[in-house]
Symmetry: C2
């Protein structure tokens, strides 16, 4: 009967989350962090930061977390933060934008990127109550371009988040929030135990790091396989997606309910206060479950609690005898399986908490195994295990270090956390790329790395350009027909503008051509929409352009060629492209290696790069 | 008698520090951080990272700190860290380098920059025992170019530093280090007091931030004035420099000894243990000085202690009645004066500790003034005051936040520290630039900011190049005479190489010239040194070059034209510059704005940028 209630409630919540994700916003499924990373690298995923996505993500995440699935709310919160930032920056959802004047200042790529970075940082801050960790996560993992200004902007956002959090905590501590009444700014406080360690403790620390790195990269490997399998299933249609989610939910419920029956009850430690053990409600550390009075079921303590409480219970210090190794092993194995199979389903999923749960179980097991050798508390072993698995899978260092510091409030643990993280990252890096890179690759999102590949050194940009689609050029004064044709038949977003028949300087033959610059597709569409045509082939004056176009309009990057209607009479007319051309695009010579051009492209955050022939670049000043 | 001993010892120590700095290594004076910042930005100060500088800095810093001067060891430690990194990277001092093969891999600008960044991070880590703070300081304040790889490299260095620190602390806790026996990884621990604050406490926090920002920018303003005055004095010669240091030392000793006599003795708080109050030795919180038994002199507690102990005493929590406002006011005024006049003298000086001392005194005074209004502990007020003055003067945010977190080990203080830092930085930024920028400017070190100045938008690089010194070009096959002449008469480090009379492609007149690329001064000197001349004007084969030059030699950037002797017969011969030319330098068109070119220059960390005329950049692929 209990099982039917549990499974039924979980199935219902999963259904809500999954239906929303499948039907209304497929982009809301998954953590969203890889897409944000790709966006900040220059690749926009459609419908990623819309209002629908945000609402589905919020409700879906609540549903999925409450359904007891093995997933976290951290990734979704990062995505929600970015959505909020993006929506605030553009003044509301796409079709109901507020048109305030000052909002226009945010209407450019750089500020949108900055806002989304701040949103991501705020998300991490809200998820872990870790303001500095949030800033560092945004900088180390999410952002592609760093600037000092970005640093203190993200810092400012997380400061605001933490103030709001503090206010809510204060209101809740007064007792107005029911279940949320407890807890302070530190989620998994382990500061009560004094860390004492010595030179020889370096060995268990190194062991944790190495095993964590291996486990993390194994996790990445298997997750890759399973996500590929899921991709095949999900391609079959919406019903398959939904069924997949529901079967995972059912399996989770069955395991959570059934497994605690396998372990034996443990009598309560008499040195603890009577009221502490055992409990059956709320967030207690010792769950009675099926045991007689005065006994507790240690696996139920871990499984029949919210994920946050499970972490808190497994991190709990000075309780070295609480968990049997068998229970921890069952817990670890279960969460490995659940973590692998839950991540790919069509609900908002976060990676952090499943990995923390897995890692803490493994760390605590290791702590029990090494009990005779070291006197580091088993709760701290769990913390270190979680850190090592995170670093082994996600390959972050500084940000994880600060997040763990802010989660656990134990500064004395910092040196060993650093060593564990570095070892786990190094070990993991020698096997496979980080989990986010794997997901990016699976989603088919191109990502421009900071370092050029070795083959790029042996190829010139000229050779690369020859192998690719031909570049389409426009003349300075072009017919409408040609512009429409070019826009309809290509998907390029920028076109070089060439003037021919200019009077050349000494040394050049008559008839040489000149690069005037680069014109954007969006501006060409603007020209067609505004019908800025002229009958004769002449260059326009500056005031004519000023009259017709404002900078606010030109900053708008939307508009599609399909929406433009041009009559056949207008097709014969001319457009002067000169005033709308960017006359100084960045250029490279055709003999430059792809590696150097790529560094230029990525460091400056370019979208277009002109390749000019070497022979004509003749004089030098 | 006591005064003569104190002043004599202090004068002696100052003399040692100052003589070393004045006679052996003038670059060792001051904090060294601005020069490191400039180096990482691309401007090398001569003799900055040499072995002499390092030794003088170590001994000088020990002397200056022991002399009781109002300066810190933090800046010097950062410089020492960078020196060690630089020396390790190049295999020892300039004239006794180890020539190991693998050391050659570090022999390039990028790795040298990375090493120096790691050294700076390790310095901060060693100074404050703040590993994460060190990483962030290096990234936020010191480094110009950030990369993910740099992040975890600095993190790795600070992890090693913290391990070494831990080991020493463990050895010392066993009692083998005399005075250094005490203290753990956290320098100014205030975690004993539980922080409780409410919505209304936001007002004192904002007040601290605003006043801190104003005071910080005032400090910057006056320091600028005094450093200009000192520059005038120091220009007069070595004796003047020495006398200046000695008079500051004498004044400091007089104040430290004399001022405690001005205040009244305070009876010890009977609620404290008998052994705590009063003491006269070691690092106690209550100094007896001239008082009867059972009484202590609160100003002597602050003045007659090492600077570290003074900070610890003024940060001490739950001792709200310990300091009289009058004593704090005297302390604050004294350290304002000392801080301003000590910084510019010719000894290794650090900025952090003087500012922390000033700030904590001001914070504690504010705490006393607001006692009736808030229940935040006065020790925490001192911490916040120190943070606000640091942010008001140095304008850092995230790194200061983490450094203060790691110094004080009070995570619950984090939200208000963040707000204080942000407010102080914002207020300070509205008055004047940060202290490091002021020092950079005073030292005449050019610094390339991330943001272009507004005037740069209205100027093209072509116009700028016309206004500057003419560029000297070389031909692809050049006479030795011309190369020697060019190297002797110019100070340029790179020369464009032009080929004339090439067979041009269609569309260009015969006789057009072609840019072959850019050759470095160092490579020209190599050619002259190796006498790689030929009698006839011909292009060389690849094997001829391979035979003569190895890549290790070409990576060496040293060698002066003055060391090269060329006979008059050789002067007539030719050199083929083609094989040693970088054929794909980064280029910009002459019509590009200086702002865009500067972004390119700085983002890619370039040293040379070719400007090509627009007309000839004709075709586009």
């Amino acid at each position: 009967m209990g099982f039917i209630y549990l499974a039924g409630a979980n199935l219902l919540l999963t259904t809500v989350a999954s239906v929303l994700c499948v039907c209304f916003a497929p982009t809301a499924a998954g953590p969203g962090i890889p897409e944000i990373k790709a966006y900040l690298n220059g690749v926009d995923t459609p419908n990623m930061f819309g209002a629908t996505t945000m609402i589905v993500k919020i409700i879906g995440s609540i549903g999925a977390v409450s359904a007891g699935l093995d997933l976290g709310k951290e990734g979704p919160l990062v995505h929600i933060g970015s959505c909020i930032a993006s929506l605030l920056g553009q003044g509301g959802p796409d079709n109901h934008r507020i048109k305030w004047r000052w909002l226009r200042y945010f209407n450019n790529d750089r500020d949108r990127r900055d806002l989304i970075t701040c949103g991501a940082a705020s998300g991490v801050c809200a998820a872990f109550r870790a303001p500095v960790g949030g800033v560092l996560f945004a900088l180390e993992e999410v952002a592609t371009w760093w600037r000092s200004a970005l640093l203190w902007r993200t810092f400012f956002s997380t400061a605001i988040v933490v103030m709001v959090l503090r206010t809510f905590i204060e209101i809740c501590n007064a007792g107005g929030c029911g279940l949320f009444g407890k807890g302070g700014l530190i989620m998994f406080d382990v500061s009560t135990v004094t860390v004492t360690y010595h030179m020889m403790d370096i060995i268990p620390v190194v062991v944790i790091g190495i095993i964590g790195g291996v486990l993390g990269s194994l996790y990445n490997f298997f997750l890759h396989k399973i996500l590929r399998l899921y991709n095949l299933i999900n391609q079959k249609g919406k019903v398959h997606k939904l069924l997949l989610s529901l079967s995972v939910s059912l399996f989770t419920s069955a395991c959570l309910y059934g497994l605690p029956f396998l372990v034996e009850c443990t009598p309560c430690d008499s040195s603890l206060a009577e009221s502490v053990c055992p409990t059956n409600e709320g967030s207690g550390n010792f769950k009675q479950f099926n045991c007689p009075d005065g006994h507790y079921n240690d696996l139920a303590t871990l499984l029949l609690a919210t994920n946050d409480d499970a972490v808190r219970n497994i991190f709990s210090t000075t309780t070295s005898a609480e968990y049997h190794p068998i229970s921890l092993l069952i817990f670890f194995a279960l969460y490995c399986i659940l973590g692998l199979f839950t991540f790919g389903i069509a609900v908002p999923t976060g990676l952090f908490l499943p990995i923390i749960l897995m890692g803490s179980a493994y760390g605590r097991m290791l702590g029990i195994a090494m009990k005779s050798y070291t006197n580091i508390d088993q709760g701290l072993f769990a913390v270190l295990g979680a850190a090592s698995l995170m670093a082994g899978s996600m390959r972050m260092t500084v940000s994880l270090c600060v997040i763990f510091l802010e989660l656990t409030n134990n500064l004395l643990l910092l040196p060993i956390t650093m060593i564990v993280l570095l070892i786990a990252k190094t070990v993991g890096d020698s096997f496979n790329p980080s989990i986010y890179e794997i997901i990016l690759h699976l989603k088919g999102l191109p990502f421009l790395d900071a370092h050029p590949e070795p083959w790029m050194r042996n190829l010139t940009v000229g050779e690369l350009a020859d192998a690719k689609l031909p570049v389409v050029t426009l003349r300075g004064i072009e017919t409408v027909e040609r512009i429409v044709e070019v826009l309809r038949n290509t998907t390029h977003n920028g076109f070089p503008v060439i003037d021919d028949g200019v009077v050349p300087p000494v040394g050049l033959a008559v008839g040489a051509t000149e690069v005037h610059g680069l014109i954007l597709r969006a501006h060409l569409v603007h020209v067609l929409k505004k019908k800025w045509f002229q009958r004769e082939k002449r260059r326009t004056e500056e005031w004519e352009v000023r009259e017709k176009f404002t900078w606010v309009e030109l900053a708008e990057r939307e508009g599609k060629i399909e929406e433009v209607a041009v009559t056949s009479e207008e097709m014969e007319m001319y457009v002067d492209l000169h005033p709308l051309t960017n006359t100084t695009p960045y250029t490279v010579m055709e003999s430059m290696s792809v590696a150097k051009a790529m560094v230029l492209f990525r460091q400056l955050g370019l979208r277009h790069l002109l390749i000019v022939p070497k022979y004509e670049a003749a004089g030098v000043s």
